[in-house]
């Protein structure tokens, strides 16, 4: 009886001491766990300040950094620069104010960057600024638009002649289509209408690229056996000094008496404005647009047959060439004067491929 009770008591004690131990360890574990959780939270918070440091700092200066073209080139340049431990900034996007290329150049020079990629023009101010930068030991690469009078290191652009030829071929295709229609509809040569071709050029710049495109276009058309009576090329200057003037200028074309049959746009913004105007003025099918650049909306417009064709530029290559030029300068002291990026034509025959690509990029 007594031993039984003793055993029972012993068990009771053992049980309660076990409970005590478990509770004690439980509390200790809770405290440790809460410390760990707390540190985890705080670490998570502090982690955001980890970063990588780069050797060199280049800036890319464009007149409108928001445009798809520039963004795309910037991406190409950024990727290429990162491999060489260089950081490229698209200058301007950090500012709340919108600065012109020239102001941004001044900022870049004052910031003592290691290299400038600028979409230049042939203005004197730009020349001065490039000279100033070069004098301060900052190499300057002109992108897309050149400034030939300056001591810029290199020019990275597209083959304007090739673009002109592509446009010419497309216009000739349009003319051929028209010939067939005319052959069916009209009896005499006199009734046939001359095709009006408007080439939209920027008013401000004496850009040699534009001229080359137009002359290449003309050359192609004459090579393709189009008679002078069949087409008439008009150069329409577009006022791009003011933020909204481009759109207004393009609309003016549609308000005029004779709406052109083909509109050739030489930049992304013009293409988008022209496309929108055609839709708004209900001229789809009457006016063919030859666009520039392959942004998503432009590719979609081709699919909807509002834009006849557009030029796709290998933007990644362009960006890479910019970095190549600057790093060549730092490595060898000099580099090529000209870099030319590849172009491709997009029309309804190959638009599906680009649409797919666009979708994939979206994903």
């Amino acid at each position: 009886m007594d031993t039984e009770k003793y055993v029972e008591n012993n068990n009771k004690i053992r049980r309660s001491s076990l409970l005590l131990r478990i509770t004690f360890f439980f509390i200790v574990i809770i405290i440790i766990l809460s410390i760990v959780i707390f540190n985890f939270f705080m670490k998570d918070f502090r982690k955001s300040s980890e970063f990588k440091v780069y050797d060199k700092y280049f800036v890319m200066i464009t007149n409108n950094y928001k445009l798809d073209l520039w963004q795309s080139i910037y991406r190409g340049a950024f990727g290429a620069a990162k491999e060489e431990n260089i950081y490229v900034d698209l200058l301007g996007k950090d500012f709340y104010e919108n600065y012109s290329c020239e102001d941004l150049m001044k900022i870049a020079i004052a910031s003592k960057v290691d290299g400038i990629i600028v979409s230049a023009n042939e203005s004197e101010e730009m020349t001065e600024l490039i000279q100033d930068a070069t004098a301060k030991g900052i190499p300057v690469v002109t992108l897309y638009g050149d400034n030939t009078k300056s001591d810029r290191l290199s020019f990275v652009g597209v083959g304007s002649y090739n673009i002109g030829r592509e446009y010419g071929r497309q216009i000739f295709d349009i003319i051929k289509g028209k010939r067939r229609e005319d052959f069916i509809e009209s009896e005499t040569m006199e009734e046939r209408e001359t095709m009006q071709i408007s080439v939209l050029v920027n008013k401000d710049s004496s850009d040699s690229g534009q001229n080359i495109i137009i002359s290449a276009l003309q050359e192609t058309l004459s090579q393709e056996n189009a008679t002078n009576s069949e087409f008439n090329i008009t150069i329409v200057p577009i006022d791009n000094k003011n933020a909204f003037s481009v759109e207004e200028s393009i609309r003016d074309i549609f308000i005029s008496e004779r709406v052109p049959d083909v509109i050739v746009c030489l930049n992304e913004q013009n293409t988008i404005c022209a496309y929108q105007a055609v839709v708004d003025f209900n001229k789809v099918g009457e006016v063919d647009i030859l666009g520039y650049y392959d942004s998503e909306s432009i590719v979609n417009a081709i699919d909807r047959k509002v834009v006849y064709a557009t030029i796709s530029i290998d933007t990644e290559q362009m960006g890479k060439y910019c970095i190549d030029a600057l790093s060549d300068y730092y490595t060898y002291g000099n580099t090529n004067q000209y870099y030319t990026a590849d172009i491709k034509l997009i029309n309804k025959s190959n638009v599906a491929k680009y649409l797919e690509k666009g979708e994939k990029e979206h994903e």
């Binding site: 007594d2 005590l20 509770t23 509390i27 405290i31 939270f41 900034d89 709340y96 004052a110």
Partner: protein
């Protein structure tokens, strides 16, 4: 654990209290540390904005002072300019950023570089002004102002961007803070529950032996000394009390046992006394039954004695007087204890009466140690024995019958021997008489009614031993001896 349980109660309670408080204290300390580190983080959140604002103020100061100097050329403004330029220089040094993934860092780098350029431009402006080179200071001033605008714009942009990002940080931090608060609450609650469990279980290990003790104390109080005694599990005060209680219960039990034994003895003694009294009463009753109004008898006998005196019959007078004495002893003697002398006198009287009745047939002799006559003994003992000896021993022997009374000392006993030379008694009969199984015949008339069994049992009660009376007979017609051994005082 068992070492802890063996500690004194006071220390145990203090330790429990300390441990519980310690845990709460540790948890609280951790919470406060956590809160402190979080508030430090919170203070730092907008640090960048503050330093940018300072930089901007310094920049504006420089610009203002320079403009002031250019317009008024006062010494004060020049001094102010130098001071503010130094401040700006220092602040710009602090701004130094890196070329990294972080846009803020790059912007800081640019601001730092631009500020350097600006300061140079400003100092050239001031130099040119002092040198009165109007053309030069104009152009430098314009450059400086332009740079000032760019830097201001840069700072504003960076400030805004940083504010947005810091606000995000702040939101995240305050979310963390809330989570931390909930966590704290949970931890506090859990620790408190744990504490309560620990305290309850320790207290119950302390209290449960006490409950057991109370339970068994109650049982003992109800008189159940055979209850299970609680175990002293550990050596604290309660353990000590429990073992003291156990010892106490055991010794009480022993004491009660002893008390019971002595009470048993006393009861036995009382019983003995009562029985003796009862036997005496019984003897007296029987004797009284055998009498018909003894007073009348005594008076009658006295009258007879006086008559024989007057007639001069001396022997008759003596006889009647003896008879009267004999019966008076029987009737008057209510005492249970008398002296040996009285008993011997009674036997003398009895023999004298019988000798008158049977005309001197019985030869009676006695051998008495006079010193022993004061020995106390129960009354009505010797006469019945002598009566038996006469009735059953020598009645039919005529004048040959002899009775011998001896009183002597043997060792520490007083011996009274009554011997006859009569028929004797068989051994079986002796056994029967001694064991109280003797049935005497109902029709016996000539005795005073007190049987041997009564005599024997009274003697045994008086002496407190069984061998107080012995009967010896060597066979038929060889006579018989009854020996009584009374303890000498």
């Amino acid at each position: 654990m068992s070492r802890f349980l063996n500690l004194p109660l006071r220390r145990k309670i203090i330790i429990i209290y300390m441990v519980a408080n310690m845990m709460i204290f540790i948890v609280n300390t951790l919470l406060i540390m956590g809160i402190n580190s979080m508030s430090v983080e919170m203070e730092l959140v907008y640090q960048d904005n503050r330093s940018l604002n300072k930089l901007f103020e310094a920049l504006t100061d420089v610009q203002d002072n320079m403009t002031e100097y250019l317009s008024s050329k006062t010494t004060d403004s020049l001094e102010d300019y130098y001071r503010s330029a130094q401040t700006l220089q220092n602040l710009a040094e602090e701004m130094k950023g890196q070329i990294s993934d972080l846009s803020f860092s790059r912007m800081r780098r640019n601001i730092h570089n631009m500020t350097g350029g600006y300061l140079e431009e400003v100092s050239q402006t001031v130099e040119a002004k002092r040198g009165r080179n109007v053309e030069k200071y104009r152009s430098h001033y314009e450059n400086a102002t332009e740079l000032y605008k760019f830097i201001s714009s840069y700072i504003t942009s960076l400030n805004n961007a940083q504010f947005v990002s810091n606000t995000e940080n702040y939101t995240m931090l305050s979310n963390n803070y809330r989570v931390f608060g909930a966590l704290c609450f949970l931890v506090m609650a859990l620790v408190m529950i744990g504490n309560v469990i620990i305290i309850i279980s320790i207290i119950s290990t302390i209290i449960s032996p006490m409950n057991e003790l109370a339970e068994s104390a109650n049982k003992v109080a109800e008189g159940n000394f055979d209850t299970t005694l609680p175990m002293a599990l550990y050596n604290d005060e309660i353990g000590i009390v429990i073992s003291a209680f156990n010892k106490m219960v055991i010794s009480i039990k022993e004491y009660i046992e002893r008390l019971r034994e002595s009470m048993d003895k006393e009861r036995e003694l009382q019983e003995k006394e009562l029985m003796m009294e009862a036997h005496l009463k019984d003897a007296q009753l029987k004797y009284l039954q055998a009498q018909i109004n003894p007073h009348f008898l005594f008076n009658t006998l006295n009258a007879g004695a006086q008559l024989s005196m007057m007639e001069g019959a001396e022997r008759t007078y003596e006889y009647v007087q003896t008879v009267a004495d004999f019966f008076r002893y029987n009737v008057q003697n209510q005492k249970s204890e008398v002296t040996l002398k009285e008993e011997v006198t009674l036997v003398d009287n009895y023999i004298q009466i019988l000798n008158v009745r049977f005309s001197g047939d019985i030869h009676y002799s006695k051998q008495v140690d006079q010193r022993l006559l004061t020995t106390p003994m129960p009354s009505m003992i010797l006469q019945p024995i002598v009566e038996n000896a006469v009735n059953h021993g020598i009645r039919e022997m005529g004048d040959q019958g002899k009775i011998k009374l001896k009183v002597f000392r043997e060792d520490k006993d007083v011996c009274i021997s009554i011997e006859d030379n009569g028929k004797g008694i068989s051994a079986e009969d002796i056994d029967k008489i001694l064991n109280g199984n003797w049935r005497h015949k109902e029709d016996q008339y000539d005795n005073n009614g007190i049987g041997m069994d009564n005599v024997i049992s009274r003697l045994r009660l008086f002496a407190g031993k069984t061998d107080v009376l012995d009967i010896r007979s060597e066979g038929r017609d060889k006579g018989c001896e009854v020996i009584i051994r009374l303890p000498l005082e």
